[in-house]
């Protein structure tokens, strides 16, 4: 008699215990309960990168800037990025401050890739100086080379219409919405067509570096505008 009762009760108890543990496990699975301790830090501290640039003399030899110019450049650079390198986010932020009306993130992305010559995701002061050295003190050939490199997104040596369209859209994005005359949807595309008509000599749908340099050298406006920023520093 007693054993019968205990049996039924025992079974019931076991059943109930099983149900409880199962429900607890279910809650744990759902993430409502956490049994383990919080040992894993969710936020990995960003490894603060401290980058020290090469010596002043070395940079002076490599670039076409004087010591004083390099000093001024570095002071501005370090002021904005105390860690010594610029990552893409910071770059985009800085660049967007110059173009408040539009969205300059896409163009800043392309620009970042153009400056980040070793493609390590950050622009150090050396990259910065080398880029500026070409842009401000280089020969026209070098500048055009740099521009070609900017347009050639996948760096395969050819500018296709799609790449140019991306670049063009990025530039037009920087204008923003409130322009005069009103920006039409196909304005970038039309611009790309004009560009290709001018640059693509053999009409094969891509622009190579030679075609690019040749066409640019023929255009007076472009040649003149290349000299525009000589006295920036």
């Amino acid at each position: 008699m007693l054993t019968l009762e205990w049996e039924s009760e025992g079974l019931q108890t076991v059943g109930i215990v099983v149900i409880i543990f199962a429900s607890l496990k279910l809650l744990h699975l759902l993430g409502l309960i956490d049994f383990s301790e919080d040992t894993v830090e969710d936020e990995m501290e960003m490894a603060t990168v401290r980058h020290r640039p090469e010596a002043l003399e070395l940079l002076e030899a490599q670039s076409k800037f004087t010591k004083k110019e390099l000093q001024i450049l570095y002071r501005g650079f370090k002021n904005e990025c105390p860690s010594g390198v610029v990552n893409e986010e910071t770059f985009k932020e800085i660049y967007s401050q110059f173009f408040p009306q539009g969205d300059s993130t896409t163009y800043a992305h392309f620009l970042f890739n153009a400056f980040d010559t070793d493609h390590n995701g950050s622009v150090s002061f050396e990259d910065f100086v080398m880029g500026l050295s070409i842009l401000l003190r280089g020969t026209v050939q070098e500048k055009l080379n740099w521009a070609f490199n900017l347009y050639d997104i996948n760096k395969d040596g050819y500018i296709t219409k799609e790449e140019m369209l991306d670049i063009m859209k990025a530039i037009y994005d920087m204008m923003g919405k409130c322009t005069y005359p009103v920006l039409k949807e196909d304005a970038p595309r039309q611009h790309v067509e004009t560009f290709f008509q001018k640059m693509d000599k053999n009409k094969d749908g891509v622009v190579t570096i030679d075609e690019f340099i040749e066409s640019c050298q023929k255009d007076e406006n472009i040649m003149r505008s290349m000299q525009l920023f000589e006295n920036v520093i």
Binding site: Q12, C178, T179
Partner: protein, 639 residues
């Protein structure tokens, strides 16, 4: 534009070479640095402590004391340094503002001293960075409240009050009983009657005395008349009070909706309903229930007690926390009730007849009450019952202190969240203003810049100096950069309102086929609103004219510059007086460019005072001007 970012401007300009091969039209000339001098260190001596910085660092903010020529007043010739007889501690923060572009507020500083220093150096407190802005605002508000309190107590002591209307005095008397003795009397009388009414309600139900027939009568039925009279008196007082408050309330609608007035109404309603209703058997049941609402009179005490009000408010603000506690308790109750039910199912004569019936056991056990009317009999039931009571202790005892501290934390947090939200709007507005400010600065100086070139052509020099006054080199370089972008894409920057008007106009209007008739017909409108700060739609017809040329995406080889009235850039108010035509025509050397943006809201830093003058109202002389202007169209080849 932040100061630190100004250091990146050369980089952004160099990167603009990337636009050059793409552009179809020639780029504008770069601004030259007229007096490019070597950057020099300047020494700032603040009460003996010497700070040194580059001159260009200070020149980043030309509208402050240190950035402008105002600091020359403090130049000490003998020691060749700038001497300021001010606090050096605060100066540290101010100099850091020039260096980093962020103004910080040190917590140990007194708020009024800091404000004075900021005012001295010509820095607006709104520039304080987000990290310190909240603290600054808090301190400022505390200070303001303290000053206000001081002023109030002064006023009260003086006793001089402006004459208020009878209604306003009544409302003041109701809200602050301390203002006059009458108000105080009223306050105490109502308090007394509330107490009387509540006590009456309570005593009514006490059985007092027996009546032959072994029935204990409650006092309410024994002394029915007396209680009725008391009730009537109380209700009359409450009604009169409610009506008086309703009369005196500044906003009756809001008063009716307020909690206190609802309590008042609920408190006196049962009496009136009871008067109206007859002694019907069916209805009297409901009537009895209505009498329960008389207990709400006790809430009327909350007008008299500050503590009750605070408690009510904190409960309201902690509602979410309480709700969560309730939810977790409900979860636990349901779980344990289910467990207990199934555990006790086997035993005979078990009180746990259903799961809802087990709720009562669970609640009683978890709150450690333990009435004992329901007890488990099986082993499993007892095991789970003990688990239930143990967890009950935890579930209930733990959150209570947490809730108590949550009260204060959530209370403050709510206030801080509201503050932050309010500040967020202000912050976003500031950012927006800064953005529009910089783009407006560009639009404004673009006009100035083109004006400048036209002026150079026509040879008048006095306006040039006014133009050059406002823009620093960095600004002109930035504007040149934006100008290059415009040239690259063959589109121009305009401000939002013009853009919207353009959109509306273009949807309504067709482009005029011939240029000249539209020009002359719209000329009057343009010139009549010569103040380019007016964002009127009358500029639009004129702007649609060159639109036909621009929309063809040709190279801008020529820019038509038309003579019009004197632009309001000179500060002399006499020239702005539009009464005389004669005063205008000789001044018509300066140009207004039709292709450029015509009306721009001016940024505050750059505008001289006499900007927003009313447009000349008479159309008469505008036609005169139009006749002269059509003959003065100057074609300028693109730069």
């Amino acid at each position: 534009m932040a100061a630190g970012v100004a250091a990146w401007l050369p980089f952004a300009r160099a990167a603009a070479i990337g636009w050059m091969p793409v552009a179809n039209c020639p780029m504008p000339l770069a601004p030259t640095e007229k007096n490019k001098r070597q950057d020099e260190l300047i020494i700032l001596n603040v009460s003996g402590r010497r700070f040194q910085t580059w001159r260009t660092t200070l020149e980043r903010y030309p509208d402050t004391l240190l950035g402008s020529t105002e600091k020359e007043f403090f130049f000490n010739e003998d020691t060749k340094e700038y001497f300021f007889d001010r606090d050096p501690e605060v100066f540290r923060c101010i100099l850091n503002f020039y260096r980093t572009g962020k103004l910080h507020y040190p917590r140990y500083e007194c708020i009024s001293a800091y404000d004075e220093e900021l005012a001295f150096y010509g820095i607006l407190p709104e520039i304080i960075g987000d990290c310190c802005y909240e603290e600054y605002k808090d301190r400022k508000r505390e200070n303001a409240e303290r000053l206000m309190d001081d002023n109030d107590s002064e006023n009260n002591q003086e006793g001089s009050m402006p004459s208020l209307s009878f209604r306003q005095t009544m409302w003041r008397a109701f809200e602050n009983p301390h203002t006059s003795t009458l108000a105080l009397v009223f306050y105490y009388v109502t308090g007394f009657f509330i107490a009387v009414s509540v006590i009456t309600n309570v005593v009514e139900t006490v059985p007092c005395g027996t009546v032959p027939g072994n029935k204990e009568l409650p006092c309410g039925e024994r002394y029915a008349v007396a209680f009725f009279c008391l009730d009537t008196a109380c209700v009359m007082i409450f009604t009169v009070e409610y009506l008086l408050r309703l009369f005196a309330a500044p906003s009756r609608y809001r008063f009716i909706r307020s909690v206190m007035s609802i309590i008042d109404v609920v408190a006196i309603m049962p009496y009136y309903i009871g008067l109206v209703m007859t002694n019907n058997e069916d209805v009297s049941g409901a009537f009895v229930t209505l009498r329960v609402f008389r207990v709400f009179r006790i809430f009327k005490f909350s007008r008299h007690s500050q503590g009750l009000r605070i408690l009510g408010y904190t409960l309201k603000s902690c509602a979410s926390e309480l709700g969560f506690l309730l939810f977790s308790l409900t979860m636990a109750i349901i779980i344990f009730a289910t467990v207990m039910f199934y555990a006790e199912k086997g035993s005979s004569a078990s009180k746990f007849t259903s799961i809802p019936a087990s709720f009562w056991y669970t609640i009683v056990t978890m709150t450690t009450l333990g009435y004992g009317d329901m007890v488990p009999k099986t082993i499993a039931g007892k095991i789970f019952g003990s688990i239930c009571s143990l967890s009950g202790v935890l579930v209930i005892a733990l959150p209570v202190p947490v809730i108590v501290s949550n009260f204060s934390r959530i209370y403050h947090q709510n206030q801080r969240a509201d503050k932050r939200r309010a500040q967020k709007k202000a912050r976003l507005a500031r950012i927006r203003v800064a953005k529009t400010g910089s783009s407006n600065a560009y639009l404004h100086s673009k006009r100035n810049g083109l004006l400048n070139e036209a002026l150079e052509l026509t040879g008048s020099t006095e306006d040039e100096q006014h133009m050059a006054k406002g823009t620093s080199l960095i600004e002109s370089q930035h504007h040149h950069l934006l100008h290059c972008l415009e040239k690259t894409t063959n589109h121009e920057f305009i401000d939002e309102q013009l853009f919207e008007q353009n959109c509306m106009e273009s949807s309504m209007q067709n482009y005029p086929s011939s240029r000249s008739p539209s020009l002359s017909s719209h000329h009057g409108l343009t010139t009549s609103c010569c103040s380019r700060r007016n964002k009127k739609t009358t500029h639009l017809p004129n702007s649609s004219v060159p639109a036909t040329r621009l929309r063809s995406m040709q190279e801008l080889s020529t820019i038509h510059i038309q003579c019009s009235e004197q632009p309001s850039l000179t500060t002399s108010r006499s020239s702005l007086n539009m009464k005389s035509d004669d005063g205008l025509r000789p001044n018509c050397k300066t140009a207004q460019i039709t292709t450029a943006i015509i009306s721009i809201p001016t940024p505050p830093a750059l505008t001289p005072e006499g900007e927003n003058r009313p447009p000349p109202s008479s159309p008469g002389h505008s036609t005169n001007i139009s006749t002269t202007t059509t003959s003065n169209i100057v074609k300028v080849s693109a730069l």
